[in-house]
Amino acid sequence: MAIRRDTICALASGLPPAAISVIRMSGPAVIDITERRLSVAKLKPRHATLVDLHSEDGDLIDSGLAIFMPGPASYTGEDTLEITLHGGRMITELALKSIMSAGARIAEPGEFTRRAFEAGKLDLTRAEAVADLIDAESEAQLGQALKQMDGALETLYSGWREDLTEALALLEASIDFPDEEDAPERVDAPVREKLGVLKSDLIQALADGNITERIRDGFKVAILGKPNAGKSTLLNQLARREAAIVTDIPGTTRDVVEVRLTMGGYLVWVSDTAGLRETQDVVEAEGVRRALKAAEDSDIRIWLYDARESFQSDQVRPGDLIISNKSDLVDPESVSRETLSITAKDGSGIDKVEAAIIERLGSLTQNVSAPIITRARHRQGIERALSHLESALGHLESGIGAEFVSEDVRLASRELGTLTGHVDPESVLGAVFSSFCIGK
């Protein structure tokens, strides 16, 4: 009844034609495939060997370098083989066909990493980092993914769990050893202190984590202002293409138009929004509503106004960029030197806008040296843990039984555990026995 785990293969390099093609395979049939298609009995592990790859009928497909990595000391934990061939379309196609006819199948997206996770080679946060490494478009994304791959999140999250385990050890000692002289009878104070510190750590992490989430997902920059201020033109200039429709008719932009850019090494989503004004037009009103929502969710907000008018808004927050447009239409002397002034139409001053955005990005990220939160999943886990922690602190305050406090701490620990692994009762008991002399 045994169903052998199957062997997977895939083109690991970019689409041919290219200089080379790297084909990777992983699974129990790797050695067999090596024998049948490369006519080599056994490849020396972790050495590049020149081999000939043959088709099912024994015809030569190509010569290339093969590297065999035996399990469990491989990325997936299974026997793995990588063959580097010439990067032609036909060679690649025939090579995959030959390998599949020898007992492999094409891997699903992410399947190699999934196998690495299943083999315990990576925890969940590291597995996520692999995907982020591959998807990185900006230096900042890459740097962060590398740190996460190196275990930055795992270390951070398990550190918090250890703090909770210590608090639990105190609580459990007071519950399970009430007769012991050494078991701390009054554990409230030290528990309250530990939980209090952790609570502020989590709150801080949720705040700072915003930034690391943005580094991964992209910072949001919204261009806001009255109709016909030139917002769409500015967007097109920043994007260096006609992303948004530009006309002279006020209210042309109805929906939010987003473009993805890298600026100063960061991924950024710049959005053009509907001009803000009172309107009877149902569609435009919805556009205004969406513009305000985009403004709310943005990290950086650019207020653009027509230099012939004066800028007024009660929605400006500290740190917002205020830019006057159409400066070619006014006397340069009349514009305040404090205000950044541009002419979006001919692109003059766009470099100054970019510099201002990059400067803002720099100040947003200056305090963040390592990833804290990079996915919504992490944020949810931490938020839930925090709410249990607050409940535990509330129980301590009201003097209700230690079992309630303990229950909440346990739940908080489990939430954090879901981010990487899990906490088990034995580790709590271990902490109890190592710190107290228990046993009458």
Binding site: F177, D424, K440
Partner: protein
């Protein structure tokens, strides 16, 4: 074969596991034999004279809810009842009692010797009878062959048991008892995974030579709360225990002679329990402490023997004499029996299935200390499970299981067969994930119905149970039928949301700041309810919110428990498993995905691989246990 030597179930051993196993089997109607080499030691308490405590008291209540013996026998012999943790909530109250050893033994023997369907036989057991690779009975020292469909072995520390005291070595089970060589050879021949453990015991003192007047005394609770749901009142006279402390003089004597301790001389390889260290251990590991507490526990009303709880030791006799007499109140004490450490082999319980049956030999069940546990309560709980499932095996029925969300018994068995032990296993409340629902006050509500279905519960208990259930039901109905507005509640000084929502007495009771006394004074209908019912309802209301929140967890647990892993699963074919994880899975052969997840060292990744594999399997047919 003679009919009077022919049984459904044979239980070997008359300790706490053996008594519960025999009684459980007999209660279900099976023709049961309990074979012991000495009838007079049935129900003997070989270590400290106490039953219950945190987690352990919960187990006693659960055994009782399934109509087992331990709770009722303890109620007839308890001489100092105390409810531990009264300052905390009822979920973590631990019923505990000091026991008169003689009264306990007598009460247990009375139960066992007059038990329906149960024959007690005095004989040593020399060997198992194995037919068709299944156990078919046992051979006695007498030469008798006893036939049975299943055999439960509950022989404690008899496997290569060695007593250590200083340089003395005495092969033994307990002091004065000889180990059963033939049976142990047979068990070793099965080639089961084994480990070695140790445990220790203190000297026994003559209470008449203790200077009690100088010591702090700890009295019993004023109103002792019985273990058993069938006991109305404790009638045994209650006594106090003394409390004294070691001091720096004592510590010095022990430290000077540490090398003579069997444990510290390196003579003992087995691992001891972290929660019950010897006094040598305490002084060595916590050198900064200047004193350690000792409870002086009387072993009986008319027995002068005192058990000094807290100074287990394997030091030589003369060193025991010296350090004990340096303790306040014990300056002139007479030592009746010296303390010792005992080292023994146990069977790695991961070799057992969830019914405590040896996977390698169908029909053979193990319960108690032989599985690496410590404590009468842990032994009794295992005995009950093994006795019940031995009957079911003989009848061709699947194991009856209790899950972790249902009972401490479920936590105990699952921990043993899934995680194994590295020290003598003792129950703690912190081992139970669903501690707020697994309370000592509601063991009957959790388990008695199941006990009735399984045929374990007799008519007397069933009646008492149904009467109480009906009273609780109508009590809840009364509390839900009377109500008032938040405005009225505020006038009573209650802090509630002023949302205009009329709430029932039951809803108000769920507020942490509102007690049953408050509710009673506001609603005469509630005041009229029976006191015991009111107390129970108050506890229910207190935890209702948390238990509601745990429902999702419990459902997730049961979903994973429903995903069965076939007994012959080829873990090598699953792939993606590290050698370490695979070896553990092959040893334990978890019955369900949930159980697999609780194996020590199991990674989330490995579980994902297992889940994916099980989902891929074409035939997911249920595999019967029997």
């Amino acid at each position: 074969m003679q009919d009077d030597l022919n049984f459904d179930v044979i239980v070997v051993g008359g300790g706490h596991a053996g008594c519960e196993a025999a009684s459980a089997a007999a209660r279900t109607g099976a023709r049961t034999a309990l074979i012991t080499h000495k009838i007079s030691t049935i129900g003997e308490m070989s270590c400290n004279p106490a039953i219950g405590g945190l987690g352990k008291g919960h187990l006693v209540r659960e055994i009782d809810a399934l109509d087992g013996l331990m709770g009722r026998v303890a109620d007839r012999s308890g001489i100092q009842f105390r409810m531990l943790n009264r300052s905390k909530g009822p979920a973590v109250w631990g019923p505990r009692a000091q026991i008169d050893r003689k009264l306990y033994r007598e009460a247990m023997q009375e139960e066992i010797l007059h038990h329906a369907n149960l024959t007690v036989i005095q004989d040593g057991v020399e060997d198992l009878i194995v037919e068709d690779k299944k156990v078919a009975g046992v051979i006695g020292e007498s030469g008798n062959a006893y036939a049975a469909k299943a055999v439960v072995i509950t022989t404690g520390t008899f496997l290569k048991g060695i007593i250590h005291r200083g340089a003395e070595r005495i092969p033994a089970g307990r002091v004065g008892e000889k180990p059963a060589i033939g049976l142990s050879d047979r068990l070793y021949a099965l080639d089961l995974p084994m480990g070695r453990l140790k445990t220790g015991t203190p000297a026994r003192l003559n209470g008449e030579t203790i200077d009690w007047d100088r010591l702090e005394m700890q009295p019993a609770d004023e109103a002792p709360i019985p273990f058993s749901y069938l006991t109305d009142q404790i009638e045994v006279p209650q006594v106090s225990c003394g409390i004294t402390f070691t001091n720096t003089d004592t510590h010095e004597t022990i430290a000077d002679n540490l090398k003579q301790s069997a444990v510290y001389s390196g003579a003992i390889a087995g691992r001891g329990p972290r929660y019950c260290p010897s006094i040598e251990d305490k002084i060595h590991r916590f050198a900064e402490k200047t004193r350690h507490q000792i409870f002086l526990e009387p072993e009986g009303l008319d027995d002068p023997t005192v058990y000094p709880n807290g100074i287990a030791t394997s030091l030589p006799r003369e060193v025991q004499d010296e350090f004990i007499r340096k303790i306040e109140g014990l300056e002139k004490v007479e030592i009746l029996e010296y303390g010792y450490a005992i080292e023994y082999d146990y069977v790695d319980p991961r070799a057992l299935d969830s019914g405590l049956q040896v996977k390698a030999l169908p029909g053979l069940f193990l319960a108690g200390q032989i599985n690496g546990t410590t404590g009468y309560e842990e032994a009794g709980a295992q005995g009950l499970v093994a006795g019940l499932n031995a009957v079911r095996f003989g009848r061709g029925e699947a194991n009856a299981l209790f899950d972790r969300a249902e009972a401490y018994i479920g936590v105990l068995i699952d921990d043993l067969v899934t995680r194994g032990v590295t020290e003598p296993y003792r129950m703690f409340t912190s081992r139970a994930e669903y501690r707020l629902s697994l309370r000592s006050d509601n063991a009957d509500q959790r388990l008695t119905v199941r006990g009735i279905d399984l045929g374990l519960v007799g008519p007397e208990r069933a009646d008492v149970f149904h009467v109480k259930q009906d009273a609780l039901k109508s009590g809840r109905a009364v509390m839900q039928s009377v109500a008032m507005t938040p405005n009225e509640a505020q006038k009573l000084g209650w802090k509630v949301n002023q949302d205009g929502q009329r709430r029932s007495a039951w809803d108000y009771l769920a507020y942490p700041s509102i007690t049953m006394m408050d509710v009673e004074s506001a609603f005469p209908e509630v005041a009229a309810l029976d006191q015991a019912i009111k107390s129970q309802l108050e506890i229910e209301a207190m935890y209702a919110g948390y238990i509601e929140r745990q429902k999702d967890d419990v459902e997730a647990l049961r979903r994973e428990e429903a995903l069965e892993l076939p007994g012959d699963l080829d873990y090598a074919a699953v792939g993606g498993l590290t050698n370490e994880v695979r070896a553990k899975l092959e040893l334990i052969r978890p019955a369900t995905l949930g159980q697999a997840g609780r194996i020590e060292g199991m990674t989330p990744g490995a579980l994902t691989a297992l889940l994916a594999y099980v989902r891929r399997r074409p035939n997911r047919k249920r595999t019967a246990n029997a």
